[in-house]
Amino acid sequence: MREPTFWILTALASRPLHGYGVLQEVSRLSEGQMRLQAGTLYAALDRLTAEGLVEPDHDELVDGRNRRYYRLTDRGATALDAETARLRSNARTAARQLSVRHGTGRTA
């Protein structure tokens, strides 16, 4: 899973959001490290919708304009779960290797 995909799924994990909401949430959650372009966001939303990880939730009329909200599907939550486990495992491995280097861990 690429990083933008990871952050979009993460942003949608707790509640449905519209496009601008996703951009803001990704920026907030990643502490400014991930700044998505709107074109990239909607291309990813289309792809994730086609893959069944995300789906439109509802539309709201704001200032005469239709605003579409997206939500994470159960399949999307499972994919995010799997990715989180993978990242956690990777981070644990890296930490173990570093502790050997710094002499604070056991050698095999």
């Binding site: 496009g19 372009q37 709107a38 990239t40 792809r47 086609a50 239709n66 605003r67």
Partner: protein, 351 residues
């Protein structure tokens, strides 16, 4: 039209444009930054292909765009050559002849039609049916002294010719020794020279030889062959047509793809497979032709063949077949496919 609205036209018509406009302007901005504009153009053109989960459609669209770009450039260049300056004639030609062959009677003869050589001399209809003969190339203007031969030493004469041409403003290149290669030693058995000079859209190759049959002792055979280089405006026209053709090919692929996105397997197959077959056949011609166009544009051409010649000679049959395959794909999409907007409206109604 606001900056965003203009850039968002890269996306297909539909609610996505409004959705993006809403998202983009939510922060208070009214114009895209250059980075944002490039991002929107890129993803908008991708959105025009539909099928967001498919990478195959992008590969297909790139290959189609390369082919249609090349074909458009070829058509534009072919038409453009009709407006290109012709070979020198009258006093201009006489001045060139005087510069190469001073003080002797001379002749000049074009070896083909006004633009091209095709020994069959086909009509436009003949060309459309069966393409060009395999020796199809740009015609040349050959100039020589009456009686073909000049008395004296060819090396000294070539040096003199080079000096005269340089004095007349020609950009004169190195003189190359010419002759047969002795197989046993690999050495050149020199019996002539080749001098190349360029000026004002013309390339002149002056060739001398003592190996021509019936060359009198102490004399040498000599001819000067003039070819035209592609004018800069014609290269620019070709590339503009390439760009327009590539964009049209991309949009046509997108139209077929989105129109058949929700269609059954047979319709999708009948729109995809013919184009794949067409591309397998024509992509080598496209790549060779485009490489020749690049070479011609940056001045590495000069081989004397139009950049599209392969497609009009050996490749004409497959080019015609590929055109029929692409037409089939478009017709299937037109009749069996469903408008993307109609499909979207039905989805909206269903939800």
């Amino acid at each position: 039209m606001s900056g965003y609205r203009l850039v968002l036209r890269a996306y297909p018509k539909g609610p996505r444009r409004e959705e993006l406009f809403d998202t983009l302007t939510a922060s208070g901005r009214t114009r895209p930054t250059p980075r944002e504009a490039v991002n929107l153009l890129r993803h908008g053109m991708r959105a025009r292909l539909g099928r967001p989960g498919s990478r195959g459609v992008v590969v297909l669209a790139v290959l189609v765009a390369l082919s249609t770009g090349y074909l458009s450039a070829a058509v534009a260049a072919r038409i453009g050559w009709e407006r290109a300056p012709g070979f020198p004639s009258g006093p201009r030609l006489a001045a060139i002849q005087q510069s190469v062959f001073p003080g002797v009677a001379h002749w000049a003869e074009r070896d083909g039609g006004p633009l091209f050589i095709d020994i069959r001399e086909p009509t436009t209809a003949d060309v459309l049916v069966s393409g060009h003969d395999e020796d199809f190339k740009f015609s040349t203007l050959v100039v020589g002294p009456e009686g073909r031969f000049l008395p004296g030493d060819y090396r000294a004469w070539t040096e003199g010719a080079a000096a005269r041409l340089a004095a007349d403003g020609w950009d004169v290149g190195e003189t190359e020794p010419m002759g047969a290669t002795i197989i046993a030693t690999g050495e050149l058995d020199q019996d002539g020279t080749l001098l190349t000079a360029t000026r004002g859209g013309l390339v002149m190759e002056v060739e001398t030889s003592t190996a021509v049959v019936d060359t009198p002792p102490g004399s040498f055979d000599v001819t000067a062959t003039l070819t035209r280089t592609t004018p800069r405006w014609l290269s620019a026209l070709s590339w503009a047509a390439w760009l327009a053709g590539a964009v049209l090919g991309w949009l046509a692929t997108g139209w077929v793809s989105r129109r058949t996105e929700g269609a059954g397997g047979a319709t999708r197959s009948l729109t995809r497979e013919p184009v794949v077959v067409a591309l397998v056949l024509t992509t080598p011609l496209t790549l060779l032709g485009t490489a020749a166009l690049v070479a011609d544009t940056i001045g590495l051409g000069g081989a004397g063949w139009p950049f599209w010649s392969m497609s009009m000679t050996y490749g004409w049959g497959v080019t015609q077949f590929a055109a029929v395959m692409c037409l089939l794909s478009v017709l299937v999409a037109a009749f069996a496919g469903r408008s993307a907007r109609t499909a979207a409206q039905r989805c909206e109604a269903a939800s």
